[in-house]
Subunit: 366 residues, 2 copies
């Protein structure tokens, strides 16, 4: 993997990741951009105990631009984008409208391909591996920033989930604190260890799922994917490396090498969950068969890596894993976070986890 780091016109960092060591990226950003003036602020909620990022400048951010104005496409034919070169494999840059910035963390955009009309599931295994290596590198680099305590590499896919740019991309948040969700896991981890004379809760959860089998979605040699026993979302999969590591930096070469096959298969199954036969939803031969074509849009999903906070005393006990879920509960119907979920943090799930796992096994690639 080759890294080429450069700066955009407003001073933001842009890094190209390439598989070939002789790749050259020397194009210059020619846009007349004002310097970034970030005004994000972190406020602590004394009743809930969490922190909220207040980021008012984001209201002006790019919202569903037409495809020929996509800011993530390569710069070509006079169309100046966030990526000055006319081709690239994977590109990462600081978000111009960050929720977190400066001493309050960092927000980056990860562009998975210079092809506009595809999705992560449509990437080659080689490209998926390059993305994994880029995520790993960003975790390492952000760990060195004083304002970053935890790195979250994630992808939101689909308009139903609020995605405003169709070009395949993800994001990386470097949070200035351990997130509330991770704090809950760390607390459970500690209690379980105390209650069991030192057993690791993550290990026990994965072992229970492998023994039970009813919620297993797929198993590789180095990865296990299952629907959790108390899944919060209609279709939710947790993917763990067989050998527990605290974050992406800990993955060995065997796990890295197998990851693309496992993850691409999971994403492709997600796109088939709501397929009733006939034309599959999503992208067929690079052509969207979604709403524009009159069909069901591809499955919306959120996918993200849960990694150990850098300064947690339980860091070595934490288990890197990926959580992938969709907000669609059945064809044409979404799961909304309404009164119970948003008001009281109690999830109602209409799809039994065993049924979700059975469906995700049923739609395996033949």
């Amino acid at each position: 993997m080759k890294k080429t780091s450069t700066r955009l016109a407003d001073g933001r960092e842009l890094i190209y990741y390439d598989t070939r060591d002789d790749a050259v990226h020397d194009a210059v950003d020619r846009r007349p951009l004002d310097p970034m003036s970030s005004v994000s602020e972190i406020r602590h909620d004394v009743l809930l105990g969490d922190s909220v990022a207040i980021a008012s400048h984001r209201q002006a951010r790019t919202y569903h631009p037409p495809a020929d104005e996509c800011p993530l496409c390569p710069t070509r034919d006079g169309h100046l984008t966030e990526i000055p070169d006319d081709h690239y494999e994977v590109a990462v840059f600081e978000n111009r409208f960050p929720s977190l910035s400066g001493e309050h963390g960092r927000c980056e955009v990860v562009v998975f391909t210079d092809h506009h009309d595809t999705s992560f599931a449509g990437l080659s295994p080689e490209r998926a591996r390059l993305v994994l290596d880029a995520w790993t590198d960003r975790t390492r680099e952000l760990s060195r920033l004083p304002g970053v305590e935890q790195v979250y590499c994630f992808e939101n896919r689909g308009e139903e989930i609020g995605v405003t740019l169709g070009h395949p991309h993800g994001q990386i948040y470097g949070y200035p604190f351990a997130t509330p969700r991770t704090e809950l896991m760390l607390r459970s981890l500690e209690r379980h260890s105390e209650a069991t004379g030192g057993r690791n809760l993550f290990d026990d959860v994965v072992e229970r799922e492998r023994e039970d089998g009813s919620r297993i979605v797929l198993e590789g040699e180095h990865w296990t994917a299952f629907v959790p026993y108390a899944a919060h979302w209609p279709y939710e999969v947790h993917l763990y490396p067989r050998r527990r590591v605290p974050d992406l930096l800990g993955l060995d070469e065997e796990a890295r090498a197998e990851f693309p096959a496992v993850y691409l298969e999971l994403l492709r199954r997600f796109d088939r969950i709501f397929d009733e036969g006939g034309t599959p939803p999503g992208f067929a031969g690079g052509t969207p068969t979604g709403p524009e074509a009159g069909g069901e849009p591809p499955t919306p999903y959120i996918s993200g890596w849960h990694q150990a906070p850098f300064s947690s005393p339980l860091r070595r006990e934490f288990a890197l894993h990926l959580e992938l879920f969709t907000i669609r509960r059945t064809k044409g119907k979404l799961k909304f976070l309404a009164g119970s979920e948003s008001g009281m943090s109690v999830f109602i799930n209409d799809v039994p986890p065993e049924a979700a796992a059975a469906r995700l096994r049923e739609v395996a690639t033949p």
Copy 2:
């Protein structure tokens, strides 16, 4: 207030609440309903420490019926609904598709009026008072059920939030446990008391807001409404009675009498937040001016009462309050709970709380 309790054809309870003591409701449910067979299940998530309600039978629930098939309208002209009488003021019944039931709690539907084409903001003060009294009565009644630890009276309004029935109604969840959100508040309450030699955190929060003033939305003689300092949502208002009480049962007559004016004004302001002059959004003279009329649909919102769990040792320290918020962040744009919120429980808010409060003061009823 008069209560008339009866049973629907499948055995579910239906209660009419009337202002007049001579109201009579003796109509019988003539629908051929199968007995309810609830299969909801509560599962504990060992990593997050919360509980999820798995309720697969709900997938079949009523979804956006045409107005002439509304199940919440009164039974008239041979159209048989959930409410057998041909008129009513407020009606409460057990949900036919409950997320929680039996030893796992209870779900009820509260219908605010027998008029289909209006909203809570369109109710008279007398009717709003009757709803408050019905919520209070339900809290008392549900507190007597062995499977109920905490009662949550709430309303989801708007299709953008997943509401599938347009008829003005809310819901009541009797949870079999203290909810995670309330547990967080109780923990903060306890810590604050320890750290300050016995001060009450809720009292201190409300006092700080009243002294600061910048986030105050309105003050009555017995109620204070403000945008919280670390608001999670674009427009979010917390409404506290001036005299702290643990739940609705504790409200005195003065607070009850003033509630309709305060709450109806808050809801009307919510409907004006995104109004840019000209035709106001929402309901004008009983006629929807929303999407059917080509305008902006009325502001979607979630509104819910936070009440003390019945068996909490900190019950007497808890402060009943209402939390009202919208998921719309600007005209035509929604706030989605995507990767950061749903994946890591970290909220990003694009509207500074002081700006939200200023807007909510600006759109006060003249």
